[in-house]
């Protein structure tokens, strides 16, 4: 199969959803255009922005960092060590090696040192690891961004992630979540930093292909905590549909983002998207009584979680000493 763009070189990536196939060089052009068009469409980033890119060691976040650097944005990487045996060490290695190859040193937050490693925290409060992980990561994204005077936080969520989330929200008629789902979560009141998802137009196959062809060494193993994640069920359903009807995913998501869609609000509307933890929206933000982070409750969800973990740990220690 020949490249549909240059019509000379052998194609390396076939994309039925775009009725196209590209050689490596033309695919780089195509991919970067998809990302820059995604940024332009919703004004996700501006030339003077200081971008904090949240990197996990997986393909999407490292590819995002790579593209943003190549596009000339001022970026720094943030890696959160979740404290998952083995997996966290291997992911961190990939992040550090990639960063070094680009002359960068990422900011590293170690949850074990913060007293809230994900596996132990989940056991203590008897919650799913992914639910805790989301709360903890959002907290540190915002805290590190505020401390480092970053103007925006960028995450590697791609088209597959966003459509899986959309399907889940629709199936459960999560109207408040639907109202907020968007590639742009503008600054909230009380110091919440803007959050963006510049890869919203590109699929997982496309980010993986870009990473492979660019020689980005990413962690291919899945997070052991996410084996039962419901998002995987939605992804499976959507990929079956995509196999039979290529292009359905992007039509589904673009249709949802259409301003005329009554299910969602535009970013910045009073009840629309904000960068706030999803459990904590409504009312006016104030400083958390414990850590000072913006919250709509007296204490932010991160501090409440940390307190529950501390109490469970103390109770366990008391039982052991009896």
């Amino acid at each position: 199969m020949k490249c549909k763009r240059c019509r000379r070189a052998e194609a390396a990536v076939d994309l039925p959803s775009h009725h196209s196939a590209f050689c490596p060089d033309c695919f780089f052009v195509f991919f970067r255009r998809q990302v820059t068009e995604g940024i332009r469409k919703f004004h996700l980033l501006a030339p003077g922005d200081r971008v904090l890119v949240c990197v996990s060691g997986g393909k999407d976040s490292l590819v995002l960092w790579d593209v943003l650097m190549d596009e000339g944005y001022e970026t720094e990487g943030l890696y959160i060590d979740l404290g998952i045996d083995g997996y966290s060490d291997r992911s961190k290695e990939k992040v550090l090696a990639y960063a070094a190859s680009r002359g960068k040193t990422p900011i590293v937050v170690e949850l074990a040192k913060e007293g809230i490693p994900i596996p132990e925290a989940a056991r203590c409060v008897k919650m799913q690891e992914c639910a805790i992980c989301g709360t903890v990561k959002r907290y540190f994204f915002n805290r590190v961004a505020a401390q480092g005077k970053f103007t925006v936080v960028a995450t590697g969520h791609n088209l597959d992630d966003e459509t899986a989330r959309l399907l889940g929200n629709l199936l459960h008629w999560q109207r408040d979540h639907l109202a907020r789902q968007h590639p742009l979560l503008p600054c909230g009141d009380g110091g919440l930093v803007r959050k963006v998802k510049p890869l919203w137009r590109v699929s997982e196959v496309e980010t993986a292909a870009y990473g492979f062809l660019k020689g980005i060494d990413y962690v291919t193993e899945e997070c052991p905590m996410s084996e039962d994640a419901t998002s995987l069920v939605y992804k499976e359903a959507l990929s079956r549909i995509e196999d039979r009807m290529p292009g359905t995913r992007i039509v589904f998501y673009k249709g949802f983002l259409d301003p005329s869609n009554p299910l969602r609000k535009e970013p910045g509307d009073a009840m629309g998207a904000t960068g706030m933890d999803e459990e904590e929206t409504g009312g006016t933000a104030q400083a958390c009584a414990s850590c000072g982070a913006p919250t709509y409750a007296e204490t932010c969800s991160f501090c409440r979680l940390k307190e529950r973990v501390r109490k469970a740990r103390d109770q366990r220690a008391a039982r052991v000493s009896r």
């Binding site: 199969m1 194609a11 390396a12 990536v13 076939d14 196939a21 490596p24 997986g58 393909k59 999407d60 992914c130 992980c133 597959d160 992630d161 699929s203 997982e204 196959v205 980010t207 993986a208 292909a209 492979f212 062809l213 291919t220 193993e221 899945e222 997070c223 905590m225 996410s226 084996e227 994640a229 998002s231 995987l232 992804k235 990929s239 079956r240 995509e242 196999d243």
Partner: protein, 70 residues
Amino acid sequence: MYNAPMITVRLPQKKKELEIPGPRRVMDLLADAGVRPTTVIVTQGKKLLTKDHRVEDGATIDVISVVSGG
């Protein structure tokens, strides 16, 4: 006894390896391995293969899952 060379299909994330007689197109190899094309990239050494690429006997290909959860 002589063993005819076959295509080696490695699925590293599943820690699985299959031997399939060739020549065969990538999309057919994926069907043989029970893998849906929109969930993987397929590589041969440093090359990325399109789904209609014909793989010859004796070749080794890697099927890398791209699905991330959480």
